[in-house]
């Protein structure tokens, strides 16, 4: 598909530990079309954050990308030199993080941190010009009286404001792709909605693509065009957002949807998936979900199911997909 801005092919990210190498992201294939939003969903520890950091090549030591390609407009980011990769960061791919409280440097003003991002990719711009552009960026993320905020420090701003600053900073150089790693998890619900609205508006305005990483299915339902569900370092299901919610095929996705509390249905207890995500150093053989799967059959314990297209545009990594709802 030439429409894709980003294609991830066979990406494998490993961490070296005392007990040997541990695979956090294991052979992930994904693509992000231009101007669209890909939601990546999964429980904590499923590898979704490591995946996003791998795209930015910001996986901290002792982690490293062991295999695979990350193609941004056809150019493989994995093979770039660190200097070339720096040119990509911030200007073509930008990232916002979960904790707006700690993601800004407390000792520098908001304005300094935004202009710094601009200066990194446009060293010849004058200070006055940068200031003007930064204030415009703050204005774009709807921060009131941006010229005053420019000179303030992060601790003088609320959590929501800080996340807006982070967004302004990320979008300062008009990147083609924004990776948002749990952008609203640390925020109040009302502020969450504002930030999501803002991201959507900015996407419409700039035509950027977004990778939205979250464990919150509500956020995904609201934002994503396409969804990838991750489990234990792999993509287990992938489809248009509507199809994921309307017709989930992987037992894990079914379980995730079942564990979302709903107001419109009376339920005595929430359906929870038994057990927890296996740690990357103790992955089960066969399908990684089989110990928790109510549908597991004998072959699930030995064969690793590939991600296969079950119906057009809807893939699942399950030997038994599509499975019917739990009640069946």
């Amino acid at each position: 598909m030439s429409e894709d801005l980003l294609r991830i092919e066979g990406l494998r990210t490993v961490f070296r530990t005392h007990g040997g190498e541990v695979t956090a992201v294991d052979g992930v294939d994904l693509s992000v079309p231009r101007g669209r939003t890909l939601g990546i969903v999964g429980e904590s520890g499923c590898g979704k954050s490591v995946l996003s950091l791998s795209v930015m090549r910001l996986v901290a030591h002792p982690g490293r990308i062991a295999a695979g390609r990350v193609l941004l407009e056809g150019r493989d980011l994995v093979g770039l030199s660190s200097a070339e990769m720096r040119q990509v960061r911030g200007s073509q791919v930008a990232m916002i993080f979960q904790e707006p409280m700690t993601s800004l440097n407390p000792v520098h003003t908001v304005g300094f941190q935004i202009t710094e991002a601009m200066r990194a990719h446009d060293p010849r711009a004058s200070a006055a010009e940068l200031r003007e552009r930064a204030i415009e960026a703050l204005n774009r993320v709807r921060i009131p009286s941006p010229d005053r905020r420019f000179d303030e420090y992060p601790h003088q701003l609320s959590g929501g404001m800080r996340q807006r600053v982070m967004i302004a900073m990320a979008l300062a150089c008009r990147p083609k792709l924004l990776i948002a790693d749990e952008p609203t998890t640390a925020l109040d619900v009302t502020v969450q909605a504002q930030i999501l609205d803002l991201l959507r508006d900015l996407q419409a305005e700039t035509g950027m693509s977004i990778i939205l990483i979250t464990h919150d299915l509500g956020v995904v339902a609201e934002m994503a065009d396409e969804v990838a569900v991750m489990y234990a370092g792999r993509v287990v299901e992938r489809a248009e957002a509507g199809a994921i919610f309307g017709d989930p095929m992987h037992p894990y996705t079914l379980g995730l949807l079942g564990s979302v509390p709903r107001l419109d249905e009376e339920r005595e207890t929430l359906l929870a998936i038994d057990g927890s995500v296996p740690p990357p150093f103790a992955l089960p053989k066969g399908c990684r979900f089989h110990p928790r799967c109510p549908f597991a059959a004998a072959e699930c314990k030995s064969d690793q199911p590939p991600l296969r297209e079950v119906v057009s545009g809807h893939s699942a990594a399950c030997l038994r997909a599509p499975v019917e709802a739990f009640a069946a």
Binding site: L58, T102, N105, P106, V107, H108, E116, A120, A170
Partner: protein, 313 residues
């Protein structure tokens, strides 16, 4: 910022009072009688009694202390019991060389300590890190006098590269500067270790912070990430440590001055204590503790300058 500084300054007043009181009481527990010292070994009891009355030593302790503070507030530090030279005059003559020594020591040791600590923190676990940490452990463990003696023996005596006794002149003269090198290397040498270790820890801590990841995600060069986003933040605890370590530096100055016959307040203090020259000893204690307070005040102000969250508080 100014309010912060003024607040700290006001807080320094009770501290100074405490220093005076403790200094005064310490002199009382020393089993030597100033009047006897002053009168000399051959004096008769009458003479000693007269001197005691003259010095006000027959008054009750609280009156003596009151009188002492009263005089002090009027700028009267008393005179040496040994040679009757006013204490303020002696202090005035020795404070310059001590300041010279302190500044010269800090001038090279703090930047070097911070540089070494940053390198070690950035390349944690590497050979660079282990080498730097080994040097700094040695620096922490070697006593000042030993380092001083080694330098005197080799650099000063055996190789005759640099002068090692006394002060040849003010710092702006070549001779003065040369004579300052060995004492400053000695005193600064013991300071590098703690500064490097603290910087390393602080840099390591900051490097794993979320905002450093943000800085990298912006596409900043590693140099900028380290300088602006790691070191800048790490300096806050490092400056605090430096403030705390200044006390040791003052102690080290006393030893260094004695070893190198440097005519500073520290050597004056040692001489005064050894000869039971109480007013002089008290004067040096006051000056040294005031120095400590001033440096801590500077650190507090710097602290606020480095961390905007403290400024507003």
């Amino acid at each position: 910022m100014l309010r912060h500084a003024i607040q700290r300054l006001i807080l320094a007043i009770p501290v100074m009072f405490g220093v005076l009181l403790i200094g005064f009481l310490l002199m009382q527990v020393v089993p030597t009688d100033p009047a006897t010292v002053r009168a000399g070994p051959t004096a008769t009891p009458d003479v000693i009694a007269a001197i005691r009355a003259d010095l006000g030593l027959d008054e009750p302790l609280y009156k003596q202390f009151g009188l002492y503070v009263w005089r002090l507030l009027h700028g009267d530090l008393g005179s040496s019991i040994i040679n009757n030279v006013p204490v303020s005059q002696e202090l005035g003559a020795t404070i310059g060389p001590t300041l010279e020594l302190m500044f010269a020591s800090l001038f090279w040791s703090i930047p070097l300590g911070i540089l070494l600590g940053t390198l070690a923190g950035y390349w944690r676990g590497s050979l660079i890190d282990r080498t730097i940490m080994a040097i700094s452990v040695a620096g922490v463990s070697v006593p000042v006098f030993f380092l001083g003696l080694v330098l005197i023996w080799f650099v000063g005596f055996q190789w005759q590269w640099l002068p090692f006794t006394g002060r040849a002149g003010p710092i702006w003269t070549l001779d003065g500067m040369l004579s300052l090198i060995l004492p400053a290397v000695t005193l600064g040498g013991v300071f590098i270790g703690p500064v490097a270790r603290m910087t390393r820890t602080a840099v390591l801590d900051v490097l794993s912070a979320d905002h450093v990841r943000t800085a990298r995600a912006k596409g900043l060069t590693e140099r900028l990430v380290v300088m602006r986003h790691a070191l800048r933040n790490a300096l806050v605890p490092v400056i605090t440590l430096i403030g705390l370590q200044i006390g040791f530096l003052l102690g080290g100055a006393v030893v260094t001055e004695t070893v190198f016959s440097w005519p500073g307040v520290g050597r004056l203090a040692v001489g005064a204590i050894l000869s039971s020259d109480f007013p002089m000893a008290q004067g040096t204690i006051i000056v040294l503790s005031m120095g400590f307070i001033v440096i801590n005040l500077t650190v507090d102000v710097l602290y606020a300058a480095l961390d905007p969250r403290i400024r507003g508080a």
